[in-house]
């Protein structure tokens, strides 16, 4: 059947890029799914979640294609300006029909960026004639309506590395710039459109009226283009069987609590354990398949081959992924900064693996062999977990110890005096709680340590997006450094939340009234020892950073108070932050 394909997909990508609101993004994806037939919608979804992999197409090949048609120097200038390969190629691509006919000077209508000056037979590269702005669009610019995504993906998946480029070239010729952009994003990944796979799963759940945890649970057993999933979501088919080996099990999460909330519960009903500040993972190995999942069900195995290799068991562990060295019979966890060395990397070198080995500090056991432990009470699961972890390699798996306590006040005190810096606070788990997905009220609580606080001085403000676009709402702040009688500010972080709407208006007014310089959407503001705005900044932790001039990077900074009362010279100094590093 004649499927209109590339145009709506291109329109979807464009709209997602420019839509700031999460709800509006969800609506766009839901509308797209509703309007698009199988299997195209499945391929589109897989491209956005970055699950689609087409081995015959690589970015370097796309670059080679465009440089065969466009002077590489001009392409380089353009790429530098635009900053995104797919977008640059989509805009600069001179379609086949536009290439010159052999008569020089006035003959062709080639976009005048061509190569081949040396060849006397070729027209000079500038042989373009001005395109008449009133003539109808080029032939190729409307043809993209009938290029189904399925044709593209399925053809490329069976084509060789030499055929792939030829096909891509032909399609680029047939598409208009938004279509080319969508094609290149489809086949190379690297979306950069501000959509997480979590958001896509939420949109799928919204579309089918399901709970997102159901989608997460199924996700890794599904095959692209997800036809059986859509049949279920459409209401025309059964729920797909969870077919994957080592599937993801939707994660149980805790609600935040403070002493007041906890007073309503009996401390004797709860166990406490440290809340480690790494990444929450599910390490699952079944029937010879091992996978490491993030808490939203993304498969992150590829980043941790060292850990994966040690997963020789039958079961599913819920735990915290950290980096650390095995010494004297125990693992000593590193800092969050060390862990960052291992995150967001497609490939991890042997050196990085040796320097920052990954391990799992286990919280819970969800599956052991053929037994699903999730319907059992926490205490029972914990006993099974202790026995289970004892059989695993001690340099890759250890237990998150329970923290004994009698009364809530003890918990409140302990959470602020953790035995290691890489602890965010305490977790409280009801002894009889079964393991259920989501964030049920009551069985689990997290009691975070109090945040670190410093007083910093507002240095730069940037305009926000969406509803905040007429406000200066993103703030860069700094602390003092240098001689006490001649101090200078060094930026230490950025924050764009933590304040009320009323406070936002006040800061916005301060920024406008105290602007020193403007750089596009950014303004620098007066920040002098005797004149400026002091912000009390709360943050969860501090890392060493070579990328920041200050040498430190804050974790989750937010504005906790506006200190109109405080003169800037009383704000903190960099030494205070440096002391927090150790």
């Amino acid at each position: 059947m004649g499927v209109i394909a590339m145009k709506p997909f291109a329109a979807l990508l464009d709209a997602l890029v420019l839509t700031p609101s999460r709800n509006a993004k969800l609506r766009l994806i839901v509308d797209y799914i509703a309007a698009t037939p199988d299997p195209d919608r499945g391929y589109a979804i897989a491209a956005i979640t970055r699950d689609l992999d087409i081995p015959s197409v690589k970015p370097a090949m796309i670059r080679a294609l465009v440089e065969a048609r466009v002077d590489p120097v001009l392409f380089g200038y353009s790429y530098d300006f635009v900053g995104d390969l797919a977008e640059t190629v989509s805009l600069i691509w001179p379609a086949e029909e536009e290439r010159p006919s052999p008569s020089p000077l006035r003959g062709g209508s080639m976009r005048s960026v061509g190569v081949g000056v040396s060849d006397g037979e070729e027209p000079p590269p500038g042989s373009a004639h001005l395109r008449d702005p009133h003539r109808p669009p080029l032939k190729g610019e409307v043809k993209n309506a009938d290029l189904p995504l399925a044709t593209i993906v399925e053809t490329l998946q069976i084509s060789s590395r030499s055929d792939g480029p030829r096909l891509v070239e032909r399609w680029l010729d047939a598409l208009d710039p938004p279509g080319r952009y969508a094609l290149l994003k489809l086949i190379t990944g690297g979306m950069r459109i501000g959509v997480s796979s979590r958001l896509v799963k939420q949109a799928l759940a919204d579309f089918g009226g399901k709970d997102v945890t159901e989608i997460e649970e199924l996700w890794h057993g599904l095959a692209i283009p997800y036809t059986n999933l859509f049949a279920w979501l459409d209401g025309t088919g059964p729920k797909p069987e969870s077919a994957a080996a080592a599937p993801f099990r939707p994660v149980m999460l805790a609600n935040p609590a403070d002493t007041e909330d906890l007073a309503r519960y009996d401390p004797a009903d709860y166990c406490a354990e440290w809340k480690w500040d790494g990444i929450r993972v599910q390490a699952t190995a079944e029937k010879g398949v091992a996978r490491i999942y993030s808490r939203t069900g993304d498969d992150i195995s590829r980043s941790f081959p060292d850990l994966l290799a040690a997963m020789d068991f039958e079961g599913s562990i819920d735990g915290e992924l950290l980096v650390g060295h095995f010494e004297d019979g125990a693992i000593r966890p590193g800092t969050f900064g060390d862990l960052q060395q291992r995150l967001n990397r497609k490939t991890v070198s042997a050196k990085q693996q040796a320097k920052f080995p990954a391990f799992v500090r286990a919280y819970d056991l969800l599956q052991e062999g053929g037994d699903d432990l999730r319907p059992l009470p926490f205490e029972t699961r914990r006993a099974r977990l202790e026995a289970f972890v004892a059989t695993l390699p001690a340099d890759r798996f250890d237990l998150s110890p329970l923290v004994p306590f009698k009364i809530w006040e003890e918990v409140a005190a302990k959470r602020n005096a953790p035995p290691a810096p890489i602890i965010e606070g305490l977790m409280l788990k009801r002894r009889d709680s079964i393991y259920v997905p989501g964030r049920p009220k009551g069985p689990w609580f997290k009691f975070k340590r109090d945040p670190f606080l410093i007083d910093a001085v507002l240095m730069y403000a940037q305009r926000g997006h969406g509803k905040r676009s007429s406000f200066y709402s993103d703030y860069t702040f700094g602390v003092w450094t240098g001689e006490a009688d001649d101090p200078a500010l060094v930026p230490v972080g950025k924050a764009y939340f933590g304040f009320t709407d009323e406070e936002l208006k006040q800061i916005d007014k301060f920024v406008r009234d105290n602007t020193v310089e403007r750089f596009g959407p950014v303004r620098s503001v007066r920040a002098e020892p005797d004149h400026g705005l002091v912000l009390e900044v709360a943050f969860e932790g501090l890392n060493r950073s070579t990328r920041h001039k200050s040498g430190v990077a804050m974790r989750f900074p937010r504005i906790s108070r506006l200190r109109w009362d405080k003169p800037p010279f009383e704000a903190d100094r960099l030494e205070t932050l440096e002391a927090m590093l150790d």
């Binding site: 464009d14 890029v17 420019l18 839509t19 700031p20 466009v70 002077d71 120097v73 001009l74 392409f75 200038y77 353009s78 300006f81 635009v82 900053g83 995104d84 977008e87 640059t88 805009l91 600069i92 976009r111 005048s112 960026v113 000056v117 000079p124 590269p125 500038g126 373009a128 004639h129 001005l130 395109r131 702005p133 009133h134 669009p137 952009y181 305009r463 926000g464 997006h465 969406g466 676009s469 007429s470 596009g520 959407p521």
Partner: protein, 336 residues
């Protein structure tokens, strides 16, 4: 005469030693020839200014009647002699009154084109090709990724969005001189007859354009009546891009931020500015227009200024045309 004896850059702007005048100087000078009324080309405070009638009027509107010691009206296509140098003004197609300035002495002709575009614009006279030895071109959109689409299509996208979101106000960011009036004229050409609301900063210029016989249809100031927040629902409001960052923008209900600019061709640019509906509408030449114009003038040498000089110089090299960047200071390329 060697071209750089006839015109060369100084810190005050492009200077002609034999004629003793400047073109679009950025600092006050004795004698200035001005291509068009945009603030970075037309500045107040010169002793003597020569420009088209419209450019002189626009400078008067922006800076007050005493913007220069004396003024002299340039008639398009008519040559005059200044200290032995022949000077003539020719339409540039950029904004109302915009002109290229041809300077000729000792058998050498240089055309300083100011800002220019080649496509039709209902608010100003179309660009005229002036054959010359040296062509001085702008390069605001001097990269092959910049190809401006047909303006009718861009306006159609705006009107579609207005029809689709009748509860939202459409805020169109457009430069106060030229772009704003062109956007409004194009909206009228597309058949939209309702009142268009304008920011206060545009009022005088819109009035001037209308007096020059350019039909802008019914306009009203975008001032809010007390307690009538909904009065702009489904309406089109045109304001300078800078006003969007301003408190002024907060009066509109759930606005759709639109921006009419050649920069909108690049998604990340639009995203950075918080634009929801980018409209690719430019009063500057796109890549094809720039390169075609260089060819059309038959110039054997090209001087490239404000913008992405390096790419256009590279293109000239590939086309075996001598070219160099002209390092003039003081021109903005972001604003329009």
């Amino acid at each position: 005469m060697k071209p750089d004896k006839l015109l060369h850059p100084t810190d005050k702007g492009l200077y002609c030693p034999p004629g003793d005048f400047f073109i679009d100087p950025v600092k006050p000078v004795d004698r200035a020839l001005i291509t068009h009324g945009h603030a970075d080309h037309a500045r107040a405070g010169h002793a003597h200014v020569m420009a088209t009638r419209e450019t002189l009027d626009i400078m008067g509107i922006r800076y007050g009647e005493n913007f220069a010691g004396a003024t002299q009206e340039a008639t398009l296509g008519k040559a005059v002699t200044i200290n032995g140098v022949t000077v003539s003004f020719h339409p540039a197609g950029h904004v109302l009154g915009s002109a290229q300035i041809a300077v000729e002495a000792g058998g050498t002709r240089i055309v300083a084109s100011g800002d220019y575009k080649r496509r039709a614009d209902p608010t100003c006279a179309g660009f005229e090709v002036v054959p010359c030895d040296v062509f001085i071109t702008e390069a605001t959109f001097g990269l092959p990724v910049f190809i401006h689409p047909d303006d009718g299509g861009e306006i159609a996208r705006l009107l579609d969005s207005v029809a689709r979101f009748p509860e939202r106000a459409h805020l169109v960011g457009a430069y106060a001189l030229g772009k704003a009036q062109r956007v409004i004229a194009l909206i009228r050409k597309a058949g939209y007859a309702e009142t268009i609301f304008i920011h206060g900063a545009m009022e005088k210029l819109c009035t001037y354009y209308r007096r020059q016989g350019i039909d802008l249809g019914p306009l009203a100031p975008a001032t809010i009546d007390k307690g009538a927040r909904d009065q702009f629902a489904g309406k089109i409001i045109v304001g300078p891009p800078s006003a969007f960052a301003d408190k002024w923008a907060r009066r509109f209900p759930d606005p759709v931020a639109c921006f009419a600019s050649g920069w909108m061709r690049v998604r990340q640019r639009a995203k950075q500015r918080g634009v929801e509906l980018p409209l690719i509408l430019s009063d500057h030449s796109d890549w094809d227009e720039l390169t075609q114009t260089i060819r059309d003038t038959g110039a054997s040498e090209v001087w490239v200024t404000h913008g992405r000089e390096e790419a256009l110089v590279r293109w000239c090299e590939l086309s075996q045309i001598r070219a160099k960047p002209l390092n003039l200071v003081g021109y903005e390329d972001e604003a329009e």
